[in-house]
Subunit: 337 residues, 2 copies
């Protein structure tokens, strides 16, 4: 398989374009081809001498404060949209952006379109599990109100993602709920249970947040509102927990030396628990690999995201999702007749 | 104000009746009158000599594995129901139980009934904030599907709770959402915004989980499904974070001594971050003070819960909620005409 370059929306992100260009140069040095999309004159200034990196000029950009869909629709030459178009035209293999998430989704839908049979593309990321593993969770905000069929498709796409990107065999898929007993769950969860049960995945039924974080499944399915609340609650709690513990350790007299000795432990703690942010989230269900990076990404995080997108392309993630969705639809069709 | 004894469902909880009776005896020694409700012969065996504590006999109990509503309806002499009846008849001032939460809610609704004007009673607890304060969150599971008017009433009840129980003046009330910008939130949140805006409370609009945990408000309103997901996600993340950090500290050679020195820091960390569990949650909106204790409670936690219920009675929480709800209904009525 020939892998075309990764199209990077070089204008998006809090530290763009310096962090995006720097991260792209690191990826190029590591052997991954990248094409920068953005204001050519500006980007040229950030590329160090001796680094060969292609630029596709895009005259406009979408700001963080703009209404994303409207901005992307009206700005045909916005960097995120040009980058998506480059993938759609077959000149790049994946789209990576650290800018406005809504704009990235809108550009992906407009330029790439949905995979056949996918009703709603979804944002997916991982959370750190107690056992050192990862649990995949989707949707994280693209769809705040979901039908049972949307959640069932999230289960299929999440299962493929866990296999391709995390290398897990036969991943267990649960639907996020407030209890695992019969009668628990809200209307949405209870309506989705039988539909998820028909999917050709390893569906284990409802799962509570703690059970998922303690290793009870590999894929958590939920609507984007609930998923966003869980993701943000976990991320904030982990950050706050680290800060509070550091403060409490420093409260002991003469504890500063101890705290220095503990710096490594805190660093390893952050590495083990920052899975949600490392390398960013993916938008699944569109015709192309799309990585939604964190706005705060520095050059190192940009580099990690490019590597992650490249790896998903190597795994043929998008094609596998397409096959899995059509198999799932056929399975439901058979059951119905 | 004469405070009648606290009615304790002595048969409920993982460590009942030894932990419940022991906790009640501690409260009695501390000057709080308690009446134990349960199997008199069994309870007598757990009361140490010299401790004077009243017992009301209840021949039955609701198990953790029973369908709560049906069990409470059919068992008129279940301990939780007898305890609720004791409050309803004016012979106790509050109901405390560590048993099946659903059974406690059913018993409260059957025996105490709802406060006039309250559409849906709600479960409320607190989460630890980064700044050392607490943020109140409701509902936590009593109502998994909510209308805008339910959420508006949760805002009113939560505001009264923050004032009476946490002693906060003019608490800021936010509605949990996946973003604070216009257009964010799911259908439920967007429909509830204008109704919450009409309530006579300090409503600040949508709030994200991280902003709430970092001190952006004192009261978070949400449906019981989302609230349960946030509560459980925060509790599990805090517990996991502590365990992971301890492991990483122990990975250094000769770190065991350091870990011993850090025991105090970890204990203070748990104290600062275990707000959700300490003393339990309250069921607001029924005609009486009802405390929903954690099933795992030991004698110390039982004692803390009894003190917390006693304090809420002293503050006249139930009466204040009744006044606030009728004021709120009047305010909406005025706006409507």
């Amino acid at each position: 398989m020939t892998i075309r370059p990764i199209a990077l929306d070089a204008m998006g992100g809090d530290h763009a374009p310096s962090a995006t260009v720097d991260g792209a140069c690191r990826a190029v040095k590591g052997g991954i081809a990248v094409v920068l999309v953005g204001d050519e004159a500006v980007l040229r200034q950030h590329i160090p001498k001796g680094v060969e990196i292609e630029i596709i000029h895009a005259a406009e950009a979408v700001g963080m404060d703009e209404a994303p869909s409207a901005a992307v629709r009206s700005k045909k030459d916005a960097s995120v949209r040009v980058a998506a178009r480059t993938v759609a035209e077959g000149n790049a293999s994946a789209l990576v952006s650290f800018g406005n998430t809504g704009a990235l989704m809108a550009a992906s839908l407009m330029e790439l379109g949905r995979i056949d049979g996918v009703e709603r593309p979804a944002v997916i990321a991982t959370l750190p599990r107690r056992d050192g593993g990862q649990v995949v969770i989707l949707d994280l905000g693209a769809n705040v109100d979901c039908k049972p069929s949307h959640l069932a498709q999230f289960g299929v796409m999440g299962s493929v993602f866990a296999q391709d990107v995390l290398g897990l065999e036969n991943p267990r898929v649960g639907i996020l709920s407030n209890g695992e007993e019969e009668g628990k769950g809200n209307e949405q969860v209870r309506a989705a249970l039988p539909v998820l049960g028909q999917m050709p995945i390893n569906f284990i039924g409802p799962i509570e947040p703690a059970d998922a974080l303690y290793g009870g499944c590999e894929v958590v399915v939920c609507d984007g509102f609930v998923g966003n609340v869980m993701l943000k609650s976990v991320e904030a709690s982990i950050a706050i927990a680290g800060k509070v513990l550091r403060e409490e350790i420093l409260r002991r007299p003469g504890a500063k030396i101890g705290a220095k000795l503990l710096a490594g432990a805190f660093r390893r703690y952050r590495n083990r628990t920052s899975a949600g942010a490392v390398g960013g989230a993916f938008l699944l269900g569109v015709k192309g690999t799309v990585l939604v990076g964190h706005g705060r990404a520095d050059a190192k995080a940009v580099h990690a995201a490019i590597k992650r997108a490249h790896s998903a392309v190597q795994q043929d993630l998008t094609k596998h999702i397409g096959s899995a969705i059509s198999t799932a639809l056929a399975a439901v069709g058979e059951t119905d007749t």
